[in-house]
């Protein structure tokens, strides 16, 4: 029978895999068994944990988000739009939906009965292949990278593709843990722990956790003879016990452990120690759950055999950053992870370059990252700034040795460039013969910068005071830092120039407390967060920390934290600066991820009012810290 409505369904489906490989007749059959539904914005199609539906869905119009709930928060995993398929889970697994599908806008969907569709899977090899391939390869559509007709991650949640997501998934932990009473004798508790091979016992009173006894307590309090083995639990237990809510993510569990320096967390119904115990999370649970996270990226980096594999890691890293930002994980925590992986990437690139050249380095050397990489503040793909220092050699060998290292640097920087780190605009990369030289040459270079700080020289050299040892022989780097320490000590001229350079940055706010935006050019009317907000803080931290003779802390956040420790009288201000810096980094990272850029230019019209206020509040400490610099280095005399 003629059915024009079925025809519209056919005409839509036939453009998307796996339907495209079905015959007209088959599609017609599918169409007349299809139901058409509408979803309101934010309507939930299915929820993680719901029993699976008898239909799977194809989006006709609109968009549906797939999200995972953990820490009572939703994390968006994927957005599907026209032609995308979802709800295929029942094809592969008999258990409940894992993800929640929620309409992000008003949508029209086709619901196709799974039982009915099964015949086409068995009949048509291509359909089966499509489903299997998608299942195996994790790209949702193995035939088409253009994002049409995707199969979704909900089928493939256990696969590598979503590895980094696992880090933010609820952690698996021991439910109904073994507990003991405060009056129990240590001896018996130890026996129970040994028999059940567990590392800790929660001490409970009326089902509420009041303390914890771990292997560590037994070691430090019993084995040392501090307490007899007949002591009662309440005498030696660690109290209070750190409690967390159910449904906590791996990332959060790890952070709480780091924060309180504990190896066990007690899970309670509502997360406080006033509710009943429901489980225990050990460090081991965290490690086990992380099988697929930064750790794995590091491992993949170390095993990479070419630039392509390194590039893959860098791309995964972007996903990880995005997820971390979405989850509001502290920016300093994210920076640390990212820095570790960036360092591993560079190291691997160096190793691969040495292999490529075929002969081992003629002398010992050190690879050093400078600038933002040196400060470990590189969240987005920004420039690479690096340098190479090699051991002093006989003048006769010098040229040959330098040639080797320049070639090595050429390979390394080139592969880093391919991975996604662009060459720095000032050409501060180790392949530049100016930044690839012997220890003595480098010491002379620094001495020139320190003793004769011409304005132009300083501008570049500032970068070189934020450096991080990456690869090679640490002693070489130490030789450099030792020299710097001595030379800058009480060097008024040097600091005066550094300080005046710091103060040259443009202020972020105008006279009426309005944002000062770019007046012209490509970035007209945007706010340059790097130049006007981040750099003043970075520069201030650098000059202040160097004036204390500290050269080994390069991270701006940590520099301010250290300054707060060193100068009690200004501790509050420095803490504010540290926080402001993190918040600004957060803004920049979000902007960068959103636009796949370096995040330097913030479009103010896209910020919410509260975000604008937050941003403005970050500027206050900038002015104050600049005042400190002005007074401390007697700048008024110079400029």
């Amino acid at each position: 029978m003629n059915n024009p409505i079925a025809q519209t369904v056919v005409d839509f489906l036939k453009y998307y895999p796996p339907f495209e490989s079905l015959s007209k007749e088959d599609l017609q059959l599918i169409a007349i068994n299809t139901k058409i539904k509408s979803l309101d914005k934010n309507e939930i199609l299915f929820k993680g944990g719901d029993t699976t539906h008898t239909d799977f869905y194809v989006i006709k119009a609109g968009a549906i988000g797939l999200s995972l709930t953990s820490d009572a928060e939703e994390m968006l995993i994927d957005k599907c739009d026209e032609g995308d398929i979802l709800g295929l889970r029942p094809f592969f697994a008999k258990n409940d939906y894992l993800l929640t599908a929620k309409a992000r806008e008003e949508s029209i969907i086709y619901a196709i009965p799974i039982l009915f569709f099964q015949q086409f899977i068995t009949k048509n090899a291509k359909v089966l292949e499509f489903l299997l391939e998608s299942f195996a390869s994790q790209t949702r559509n193995p035939h088409d990278k253009e994002r049409s007709g995707k199969l979704l991650a909900e089928n493939t949640i256990f696969s590598d593709q979503v590895a980094d997501i696992q880090y933010f998934q609820p952690i698996k932990y021991t439910h109904n843990p073994i507990t003991a009473n405060p009056e129990d004798l240590l001896m018996f508790i130890a026996k129970t722990m040994t028999n059940s091979t567990i590392g800790s016992v929660i001490i409970q009173e009326n089902q509420l956790p009041i303390g914890i006894i771990t292997d560590r307590d037994l070691r430090s309090k019993i084995a040392t003879g501090l307490f007899p083995i007949t002591a009662e639990a309440k005498e030696i237990m660690t109290t209070p016990v750190i409690t967390v809510p159910e449904n906590i993510s791996v990332a959060e569990a790890q952070m709480i452990m780091l924060k309180y320096n504990v190896g066990h967390l007690c899970v309670t119904r509502d997360g406080t120690d006033n509710s009943t115990i429901s489980g225990i999370i050990s460090e081991h649970d965290v490690v086990a759950a992380q099988a697929n996270t930064p750790g794995v990226l590091l491992k993949q980096t170390r095993r990479a055999t070419n630039n392509k594999e390194l590039k893959y890691v860098r791309e995964k890293l972007s996903d990880l950053i995005q997820n971390s930002i979405d989850k509001n994980i502290p920016i300093s925590h994210i920076s640390n992870i990212v820095a570790e992986i960036n360092i591993a990437l560079t190291r691997r690139a160096i190793e691969l370059a040495v292999e490529k050249i075929g002969t081992p380095p003629p002398v010992r050397f050190a690879w050093i990252n400078v600038g933002s990489q040196g400060r470990k503040e590189q969240l987005l793909k920004t420039d690479q700034d690096n340098a190479l220092v090699f051991e002093d050699v006989e003048p006769a060998q010098y040229d040959a040795v330098k040639r080797y290292f320049t070639e090595l640097a050429e390979f390394v920087t080139d592969s880093l460039n391919k991975v996604g780190y662009e060459f720095s605009p000032y050409n501060i990369v180790a392949r530049n013969t100016q930044w690839c030289k012997s220890v003595t040459d480098w010491i002379n270079q620094y001495n020139t910068w320190i003793n004769a700080p011409a304005e132009k020289g300083i501008e570049i050299s500032a970068l070189f005071f934020d450096f991080d040892f990456i690869y090679g022989y640490p002693a070489i780097e130490e030789a450099l830092t030792d020299n710097i320490k001595v030379k800058i000590n009480k060097n008024k001229k040097f600091f005066a120039y550094m300080a005046s350079d710091t103060l040259k940055n443009l202020p972020p706010l105008g006279f009426f407390r309005q944002f000062l935006v770019e007046n012209d050019g490509e970035h007209k009317d945007t706010f340059d967060i790097k130049l006007r907000a981040l750099e003043p803080l970075i520069d201030a931290a650098r000059v202040l920390i160097l004036s204390h003779g500290i050269t080994d802390i390069t991270n701006t956040y940590q520099r301010f934290k250290k300054l707060a420790e060193l100068e009690q009288q200004n501790a509050d201000l420095y803490d504010e600066c540290a926080e402001a810096f993190n918040l600004l980094q957060h803004f920049r990272t979000e902007e960068g991820l959103k636009n796949d850029s370096n995040g330097r230019y913030i479009n103010l019209s896209e910020l919410s009012k509260t975000d604008k206020v937050k941003l403005k509040n970050c500027f206050e400490p900038i002015g104050n810290v600049q005042d400190i610099i002005k007074n401390r280095f007697s700048l008024t005399f110079i400029s």
Partner: protein
């Protein structure tokens, strides 16, 4: 003969079947709707007659694509002027007499709630056709997408809103709107969308 009941006086089987659906007031959980649209020779329900009917089944909040009927009616007395005016191309589809059309339609609709845009006129046209067959009026409940739209937008009673405008407001693709089956489909989409928003 198909018209036996007219002379015989007893009601035809299909009508008995149809009315029997309304006897037990079953409150099925999943409400059944039939969205329909028709093409007629004009807008005067007394004078004009139906040329074709398209109907589409809706279960709860889902359109059943397979539950579809399209009936073309043989109306000898009338020229095909208005057919041309409506732009309907009847590519030689089989036409049936009005009585057969009513049998098919009632068998399809059963006791479902009838839904249409400005549905009163269509209902009356069907009632007239049934009257010509010596039968009673439609027993179905019915709903009007125009009225639903009034409620949705808090428009004053009696406001007439065209289907096109409603489709625009509800972001429904109108590229199928030139045929009555297209109209029916758009009406059905508008219906399930508004039904959801109005929480019916």
């Amino acid at each position: 003969m198909a018209f036996d009941w007219i002379t015989g006086g007893s009601l035809p089987q299909f009508w008995k079947n149809y009315t029997s659906f309304f006897e037990d007031d079953n409150n099925a959980l999943q409400k059944k709707y039939v969205v329909f649209d028709m093409d007629a020779t004009g807008l005067d329900w007394k004078e004009d007659v139906i040329l074709s009917i398209v109907a589409l089944g809706v279960d709860g909040d889902a359109i059943n694509v397979g539950e579809f009927i399209e009936i073309y009616i043989q109306q000898d007395k009338y020229t095909s002027n208005s057919i041309a005016a409506q732009g309907i191309v009847n590519n030689g589809a089989e036409k049936v007499v009005e009585a057969e059309a009513m049998i098919q339609f009632l068998n399809f609709a059963k006791d479902a709630v009838l839904v249409g845009h400005n549905v009163n006129l269509d209902i009356e046209m069907i009632n007239q056709a049934l009257k010509r067959l010596g039968l009673g009026r439609l027993k179905n409940q019915f709903m009007d997408t125009n009225v639903l739209y009034q409620k949705l937008k808090d428009l004053p009673d009696g406001t007439k809103t065209g289907l096109d405008e409603i489709c625009d407001a509800l972001k429904i693709d109108k590229n199928e709107r030139n045929t009555i089956s297209g109209n029916t489909y758009s009406t059905a989409l508008a219906f399930i969308k508004m039904k959801k928003k109005l929480d019916i």
